[in-house]
C-alpha cells in the first residue's frame, strides 16, 4: 500500500515538531512550554506512523502525551509562583549554550552530509499489519521460548516499581 503524499506529511509533521521544540525552550510561561511539548510529541507520533511503527506511535500517545505531560502540568501548577513570571528567563551563560548547541548541530550535519551513502535501506521490510504481533513476540516470546527482550522487559517493570516508590516517597509531606 503506497502511502499518499508522503513528502507533504513529512514536512508538515517535522515542521510542527521543530516549531514545537523551539516554543518549548523559548516560552516564559511554563504552561505554554508544556502545551508546545504536547504538540511536539504528537507530531513525533505522526512521524512514527510514517516510519511504519504504529505500536510505538500508540505507546507515545498513551504514555508520553497522555501520561507524562499530565504529570508535568500538575507539577507546574503546584510550583508555579507569581514571582517566577517576572524573573530572568535565560541564565547568564546563554551565548555559550547557544554556541555549543549550534556547533553540535553543525557536527551532526557534517556527519550526515559526508556519510550520505551509508544510510541506504537494507534488510527485510516487515509488513506493517504484523508490527504489534512481532513486537509482542520479541518482548514476550512465542511457542514456549523466551523472547529476545523478555529479561529487559522484566527489568523495566522493576524499574517502574522503583520509580513509583521513589516518586511517592519524595513527594509525600511526612514520611
Amino acid at each position: 500500500m503506497t502511502p499518499v503524499a508522503t513528502p507533504f506529511f513529512f514536512y508538515l509533521l517535522s515542521g510542527l515538531a521543530i516549531a514545537g521544540g523551539l516554543l518549548v525552550i523559548t516560552r516564559r510561561n511554563a504552561i505554554h512550554s508544556a502545551l508546545a511539548l504536547i504538540v511536539t510529541l504528537l507530531a513525533i507520533a505522526g512521524l512514527y506512523l510514517m516510519l511504519y511503527a504504529p505500536f510505538v506511535a500508540g505507546v507515545q500517545i498513551i504514555v508520553y502525551a497522555g501520561g507524562i505531560m499530565v504529570l508535568f502540568l500538575f507539577v507546574i501548577m503546584l510550583v508555579s509562583l507569581e514571582r517566577t513570571a517576572k524573573e530572568r528567563q535565560f541564565n547568564r551563560m546563554w551565548p555559550v549554550g547557544l554556541l555549543a548547541g549550534c556547533s553540535l548541530l553543525a557536527l551532526f550535519m557534517s556527519v550526515y552530509a559526508k556519510g550520505k551513502g551509508l544510510f541506504v535501506e537494507r534488510g527485510p521490510q516487515l509488513p506493517e499489519s504484523e508490527n504489534t504481533q512481532q513486537i509482542g513476540i520479541m518482548l514476550y516470546g512465542e511457542a514456549g521460548r523466551m523472547g529476545q527482550y523478555t529479561f529487559a522487559f522484566e527489568i523495566a517493570s522493576l524499574l517502574l516499581l522503583v520509580a513509583i516508590l521513589g516518586a511517592v516517597i519524595m513527594a509525600k509531606k511526612r514520611i
Binding site: V4, L35, Q133
Partner: protein, 440 residues
C-alpha cells in the same frame, strides 16, 4: 459521479484501506454531523427522561413536547456574551475546550459502524482510541488552570485525578477483551473451537473475531467476559465524569467545576465534548463486548428468514416512533393555543413515518428483486442500525444511572478506582489468560 458512487458501493474495504480520500472525507463529514445531531437529541432525551424519572414533565413549551428545546438552547448559547476572566491566560483559556473536543472527536476515526464502514481501520485501532481519549484529561486541566479561580482549579484537579485513575482499569479491561480475540472457544467454556485464534488490535478485527468465534465477548468464558465488561462500563462512566461519578461538576458541590468560568459558545464546546466522549466510549464497549454491528442471535436464529426479520427492525423503529408521535397528536388539548404544536408534532410524526417506510421499502425491495445494490444497502443499513441501537441503549443507561444513583464522594471514588477496580481487572485478565491456556 456515478463511478464515484460505484467505487464506494463496490468495495469491501474501508476508505482508509482503499486509499479513497473522497469517501473518507464524506464519512468524516457524516460522522461529524451525526455526532452533533446525536448530542442534541441526547440533550432532549436526557431532560425528558430525567423528568419522567422524577415524576414531572420536563420541557413542554418550546416545541411539541419540548422537541425544539435543544435548538432553543443552542441559539441561547450562541448569542450569550463571551466572558473571559480578567487575569486568565487568554491563549490557554481559548485552547482548552478545543483540546477536549479534539480528543473526543478523533476517536470516531476508528469506530466501526460496519465491516467496511469505518473511516480508517488502523491495525492499532484500540490502542489509538485509548491514547486519544486520554488526551481529554489535558483539556480539563487546562480549563481549570486558565480560569484563574479556586473552584475551577479544584474541580479540574479532582476531575483529572479521577479520569487518570479510571483509565488504568479501563485499559486493563480492554486488554482482557483483546486477549479473548486470540483465544478459541465457544461461549461457556470451549465446547467447540471456532475461529483461527489470531489476535488483533483493530476494531473491525475484534468484531470479526466475535463473528468467527460465534460468541459475543460478553458471554465468552462466562463470568470473565461479563466482569471485564462490567469494569469497563463503570470505568467509562467515571472517565466521562457522569453520575454517579460527577462530583467535579456537580452544581451543589463546586459550582460546575472546571467549566465554571466558561460561558456561551465555549461552554457548549465542553458539553459537546462530554457527550461525544460518552458516545465514543459506549461505541468502544459495544465493539469490544457486545458484538459491534452483529444482529442479536446470529447463530441461534440463523438463516435468511431471521436475517430478514432483523433487517426490518430499522424501519420498524422509525414507524414505531411515528406511531408514538401520532398518539401524542391525538392526546394534545383541542385549544387554539395548541394548534401550532399539534401541526408540528403531526409533521414530525409524518417525517418519521416516511423514513421508516423508506427503510422498510429498501429491505423488502432487496428481498423481492435481489438487486445487488439494494442488497448491499440493506446489509449496510442493518449493520449501522444495530450498532447505533446498542449505543443508544448505553446512552439510555447513562441517563438512568444519573436519575437513580447518588453521587460518590471524592475519596470514595478514588478508593473504588484504585483499590477495587484495578485489582479486579488484573484478576480478570490473569484468569482469562489461564482459562485460555488451559482450554487452548
Amino acid at each position: 459521479m456515478l463511478d464515484l458512487l460505484r467505487s464506494y458501493l463496490g468495495s469491501t474495504l474501508t476508505p482508509g484501506q482503499a486509499n479513497n480520500q473522497l469517501w473518507a472525507l464524506i464519512y468524516v463529514l457524516i460522522i461529524f454531523a451525526g455526532v452533533s445531531v446525536a448530542v442534541m437529541t441526547m440533550n432532549w432525551v436526557e431532560r425528558k427522561a430525567l423528568a419522567h424519572f422524577q415524576v414531572r414533565l420536563g420541557p413542554m413549551r418550546v416545541g411539541p413536547h419540548g422537541l425544539l428545546q435543544p435548538i432553543a438552547d443552542a441559539i441561547k448559547l450562541l448569542i450569550k456574551e463571551d466572558i473571559i476572566p480578567s487575569e486568565a491566560d487568554k491563549f490557554v483559556f481559548w485552547i482548552a475546550p478545543l483540546i477536549g473536543l479534539l480528543a473526543s472527536f478523533t476517536v470516531y476515526t476508528v469506530v466501526p459502524f460496519g465491516p467496511s464502514q469505518a473511516v480508517s481501520d488502523m491495525n492499532i485501532g484500540i490502542l489509538f482510541m485509548l491514547g486519544v481519549s486520554s488526551l481529554a484529561v489535558l483539556g480539563v486541566v487546562m480549563a481549570g488552570w486558565a480560569s484563574n479561580s479556586h473552584y475551577p482549579l479544584i474541580g479540574a484537579l479532582r476531575s483529572s485525578a479521577q479520569m487518570v485513575s479510571y483509565e488504568v482499569a479501563m485499559g486493563l479491561a480492554v486488554v482482557s477483551a483483546i486477549l479473548m480475540t486470540s483465544l478459541h472457544g465457544l461461549g461457556l467454556y470451549g465446547v467447540s473451537k471456532f475461529g483461527d485464534g489470531t489476535g488483533t488490535l483493530s476494531m473491525i478485527g475484534i468484531v470479526q473475531a466475535q463473528q468467527e468465534q460465534h460468541v459475543w465477548f460478553l458471554f465468552k468464558f462466562f463470568p470473565l467476559g461479563f466482569m471485564a465488561f462490567g469494569i469497563f462500563a463503570i470505568a467509562m462512566i467515571a472517565e466521562t465524569n457522569r453520575a454517579p461519578f460527577d462530583l467535579p461538576e456537580a452544581e451543589s458541590e463546586l459550582t460546575a467545576g472546571y467549566h465554571t468560568e466558561y460561558s456561551g459558545l465555549r461552554w457548549s464546546l465542553f458539553m459537546l465534548a462530554e457527550y461525544a466522549a460518552m458516545i465514543a466510549v459506549s461505541s468502544i464497549a459495544v465493539t469490544l463486548w457486545l458484538g459491534g454491528w452483529m444482529r442479536p442471535f446470529p447463530n441461534w436464529l440463523s438463516g435468511s428468514a431471521w436475517d430478514l426479520v432483523f433487517s426490518l427492525f430499522a424501519g420498524l423503529t422509525f414507524v414505531a416512533l411515528a406511531v408514538i408521535a401520532f398518539v401524542g397528536v391525538v392526546r394534545m388539548p383541542r385549544h387554539s393555543y395548541f394548534r401550532v404544536q399539534t401541526i408540528g408534532l403531526a409533521g414530525f410524526g409524518l417525517l418519521l413515518a416516511l423514513i421508516g417506510i423508506l427503510l422498510l421499502g429498501i429491505v423488502i425491495g432487496a428481498k423481492v428483486s435481489h438487486h445487488d445494490i439494494l442488497n448491499r444497502t440493506t446489509e449496510g443499513m442493518t449493520n449501522v442500525y444495530w450498532f447505533l441501537f446498542k449505543v443508544a441503549v448505553f446512552m439510555y443507561l447513562y441517563i438512568w444511572y444519573r436519575a437513580t444513583w447518588p453521587r460518590y464522594r471524592f475519596d470514595q471514588l478514588m478508593r473504588v478506582g484504585w483499590k477495587v477496580m484495578l485489582p479486579v481487572s488484573l484478576g480478570v485478565l490473569i484468569v482469562t489468560a489461564i482459562v485460555g491456556v488451559i482450554l487452548g
